[in-house]
Amino acid sequence: MIGDWRYLFRFALGVLFIWAALGKIADLNHFAYDVHNFHLLPRAVENVFAMVLPWIELVAGLLLILNVAPRSGTMVLGGLLVIFLFAIVSALVRNLDIACGCFGTKDAGVTGLITLFRDIGFLALAVLGYPWRNPVILAEPVQIEAESPPL
């Protein structure tokens, strides 16, 4: 399974998310503030979201690197990337001048088109890295002549 070329994409995705998670965990207050700035969640759940999201990223990223449960890990991170994509597009539409916070305090850049394309690129990594099941190649149908049962 390690020799699978898709693992390279999953590995890259795992490293990215571990890096992102550590940046957020290092300054949780700041990340909670970044979450608030998007104005997408009710204020009551913003902090809980900020508490658990980096750890979900960390666990999923580790699993991808270790190649354990690659389907689940890729799906979780792919799902998160779709959510992030929605948040970024939403911020762009509302013309919000806010920091992305995608990589914690290390990512102080304003949420913009670069962030959007970066997220799409990460999503492509998830799609390419997902261990799709090989299509079942059916053999040509063989006509089996029914033998007449022995009398």
Binding site: N29, N47, L53, V76
Partner: protein, 240 residues
């Protein structure tokens, strides 16, 4: 399984932190505005010409000219570019003292005469920040002895800020307990501002300051754009 593990680790880690995030974020306070009586600038009322000019459609331009020519008392923390010193003005005293500009970043080292509490009698003590208008902000600015904090990013601060304001980017100062406690011990009123409009940086910073214990924190919601467009003193340069 991944989600459950992440949630468990996240909540557990937060609980073990020295200062854990509260599960439910505290809502921003509903700020009340400072009463209008405090906004009335007595010097303006004494000058009928200014009231007359304010009725004109070109009042903004006229006001700007007026403030360009009027003597402006430098606020606390204002930098004198000729001497590279910081001006400290006590409201009850006409004397002006200076301290080296190098001490500006560390507010604890600024040696200013603690003003009498009566100097702030028009600013009520409150557990929540209080909104102030442009006119009120200008009044406090002219009177001096207030701390003006720019809650925006350092880059925006460097491009232009209220003269004498200190850079206090909310992003970094929110978690700086030492700085917050230092500010909370400062007896002077604090005015926070950012970019106006939907910007909440100043409210966030002001809320954090009141939670730390400061009881005279004001928020100038209209922010730097309103200040700048009114032609009031601005300053460029990186953070002190």
């Amino acid at each position: 399984m991944i989600l459950a593990t992440g949630i468990g680790l996240g909540l557990g880690y937060n609980a073990l932190r020295p200062q854990p995030l509260p599960w439910v974020a505290k809502p921003l306070p509903q700020m009340r505005a400072l009463e209008d009586s405090t906004a009335a600038d007595s010097s303006s009322l004494e000058n009928p010409q200014i009231i007359e000019l304010s009725k004109d459609s070109t009042s903004t331009r006229v006001e700007r000219q007026r403030y360009d020519t009027m003597p402006v008392q430098p606020p606390v923390g204002a930098i004198d570019s000729s001497t590279h010193s910081v001006t400290q003005v006590a409201p009850s005293s006409p004397e002006t003292t200076t301290v080296p500009a190098t001490h500006l970043a560390d507010t604890s080292t600024v040696k200013s005469t603690p003003p009498a509490q009566s100097a702030y009698s028009d600013i009520p003590e409150s557990e929540d920040p209080i909104k102030v208008s442009l006119a009120q902000t200008k009044k406090f600015f002219d009177r001096g002895n207030v701390v003006i904090l720019d809650a925006r990013d350092p880059e925006e601060y460097a491009e232009g800020h209220i003269q004498g304001a200190l850079s206090a980017p909310t992003d970094s100062k929110m978690g700086d307990i030492e700085w917050l406690q230092k500010m909370a011990q400062d007896p002077r009123p604090i005015i926070c501002y950012c970019s106006g409009g939907d910007c909440e940086l100043s409210i966030e910073l002001a809320t954090e300051l009141t939670r730390t214990g400061h009881r005279r924190v004001l928020v100038f919601e209209e922010g730097f754009p309103a200040w700048q467009s009114s032609g009031y003193p601005v300053q460029e340069g990186s953070a002190p």
